[in-house]
């Protein structure tokens, strides 16, 4: 009887453990798995990576880096505070006085902002230094050109390789695969993964008995850290970083992982996920 009870408790406890492990929700369970490649180890992230709209945007839309938009981050606390002030004024004073306050504030801030921008403009240009500060210092591989380069990959990768489009596609597939993993849609995962990687991912889903889960990505950045042709295969290593909420209601956490993608040189298939390497 006692033995049975102990056995039952052990079983229940181990089941609990399995459930807890399965809670680490994003694709690959936040572990390294599959093919591991030698990619530049970046400095430990001191700050969370920010979304990279400018950087991920196709370059034809942004041929040169613009210093001013990147200053936005600097201005946001002040703007936010003033906006809040305007809102409070509006709320407390009703439409009339609130509106007047708003217009006075608008004029003052416009003048201050312009002065600051003009001062910054007069300094030596350091394109996207501010917007990319967190991201660039943490994400740029040591071998890459200066952080100001709007297309750090262009010089190192073959002519005709559209890195911006490639990364946009990579990001879309990253999000799609997280969703497929959440829903336990094995056929969707199989479409984008090598056989070995699929087996590992399938195992994860079976371990949680196919239960649905929700992975909320709050921000996503992608950088191409390596592109190589080895024998009959092309390899691409993409470093994904950002913030993700793996358990509903939990605080989002930073993540950084490299996805190693492979594609037959003869073009018989598209890029497939062959391995995930954790960077943290």
């Amino acid at each position: 009887m006692t033995k049975g009870l102990i056995g039952f408790c052990a079983l229940a406890f181990s089941a609990l453990l399995v459930v807890q492990t399965a809670d680490a929700a994003r694709l690959g369970g936040a572990r390294s798995s599959g093919v591991q490649r030698s990619v530049p180890k970046t400095p430990p992230a001191a700050t969370p990576a920010k979304p990279a709209q400018e950087q991920a945007a196709p370059n034809q839309a942004a041929p040169t880096a613009q210093p001013q938009p990147s200053g936005l981050a600097r201005w946001m606390p002040a703007l936010g505070g003033l906006a809040l002030g305007g809102l409070l004024g509006y709320l407390f004073a009703g439409n009339g006085l609130g509106g007047i306050l708003l217009l006075v504030l608008l004029a003052v801030v416009a003048v201050l902002a312009f002065r600051a921008l003009a001062r910054r403009g007069a300094q030596s240009p350091q394109p996207v230094q501010y917007a990319g500060m967190d991201r660039q210092t943490t994400l740029t591989p040591p071998s890459a050109p200066a952080p100001g380069d709007a297309m750090p990959t262009a010089a190192r990768f073959p002519a005709g390789f559209d890195a911006a489009s490639f990364l946009r596609g990579a990001k879309m597939n990253f999000v799609k695969l997280q969703f497929a993993n959440d829903q336990g849609r094995l056929e969707d995962i199989r479409e984008f993964t090598t056989d070995e990687m699929f087996e590992a991912l399938e195992r994860d889903i079976h371990e949680r008995h196919g239960a649905g889960q929700q992975t909320d990505i709050e921000s996503l950045d992608a950088q191409l850290v390596d592109l190589a042709t080895e024998g009959p295969q092309h390899w691409a290593s993409v470093r994904f970083s950002g913030r993700v909420r793996e358990v509903p209601g939990a605080v989002p956490v930073d993540f950084a992982e490299v996805w190693n993608l492979v594609k037959p040189a003869d073009g018989s298939s598209g890029w497939l996920l062959a391995g995930i390497q954790q960077m943290h």
Partner: protein, 244 residues
């Protein structure tokens, strides 16, 4: 002059307006977000948040965001319709649509993007639970046609939510005019290097129907229970109507 329409205070051939508006957005696309923050003192974020609360997106819903621009509204909507919902981005301007599409992806969300004219939406009748348009209706050549199209693609019971500049409270008109016609073009020249684009903005706001007129247009387009919410003393207004 029935073949002419307003482009700010100018009268231009109807066929030209879309192209000229497109040129304005091509010129300001790079500084669009910064200028929005500077011009509105960051308030446009609150206005958009308010419009979203009026739209009341729910998980599983299908929403169309017309004239999505840099997708401020669409990104917030997309998060709220998850799981199971979807938000479609549309804009007539390719560069703005690309910005919007990339912005949404940077936030880890997937949303289909379609370049199209708000006056000729390539969607089936009764397809969406909600249609939103933030600071876009003003730039459309035939607002009545655009409203009719947005109404058409709504499901019965679906709602149209419009966030747009409107008519400011009368005692503030002079101050607002000074700001619009002196400060804005100057700011546009200094920051975005283009005074004309921001003069167009100020003029197009004056040419846009006021709260009551737009509400009447929504009703003419076939929407019911039309409500108007004034923000910042009428500098902007949110209109909401339901397709019954």
């Amino acid at each position: 002059m029935k073949d002419q329409t307003d482009f700010g205070y100018e009268r231009v051939p109807e066929a030209d307006k879309a192209r000229r508006v497109g040129a304005v957005f091509d010129r300001v696309a790079e500084r669009y977000d910064l200028m929005n923050d500077l011009m509105s003192l960051g308030l446009h974020r609150l206005w958009k948040a308010f419009a979203i609360s009026v739209a009341r997106p729910r998980p599983g819903e299908r929403i169309l965001d017309v004239a999505t621009g840099s997708a401020d509204l669409a990104a917030a909507l997309a998060r709220r319709v998850m799981p199971g919902g979807e938000v479609w981005l549309t804009d007539i301007n390719r560069r703005m649509l690309e910005r919007g599409r990339d912005r949404v992806l940077d936030e880890g969300l997937l949303a289909p993007a379609v370049q199209c004219d708000g006056e000729r939406l390539p969607f089936a009748t009764g397809h969406f639970d909600c249609v939103t348009v933030a600071f876009g209706l003003r730039n459309m050549t035939h607002k009545d046609r655009a409203l009719a199209e947005m109404t058409r693609v709504l499901k019965p019971g679906g709602r149209l939510v419009i966030l747009e500049f409107s008519k400011v409270w009368k005692p503030l008109e002079r101050a607002y005019d000074f700001y619009s016609f002196r400060v804005l073009p100057w700011l546009g020249r200094q920051v975005a290097g283009d005074a004309a684009a921001y003069r167009y903005l100020a003029e197009s706001i004056r040419m846009h129907p006021d709260q009551a007129s737009l509400a009447a247009m929504l009703e003419s387009a076939g929407l019911s229970r039309v409500e108007v919410f004034n923000l910042a003393a009428g500098v902007v207004a949110v209109h909401r109507g339901y397709r019954i």
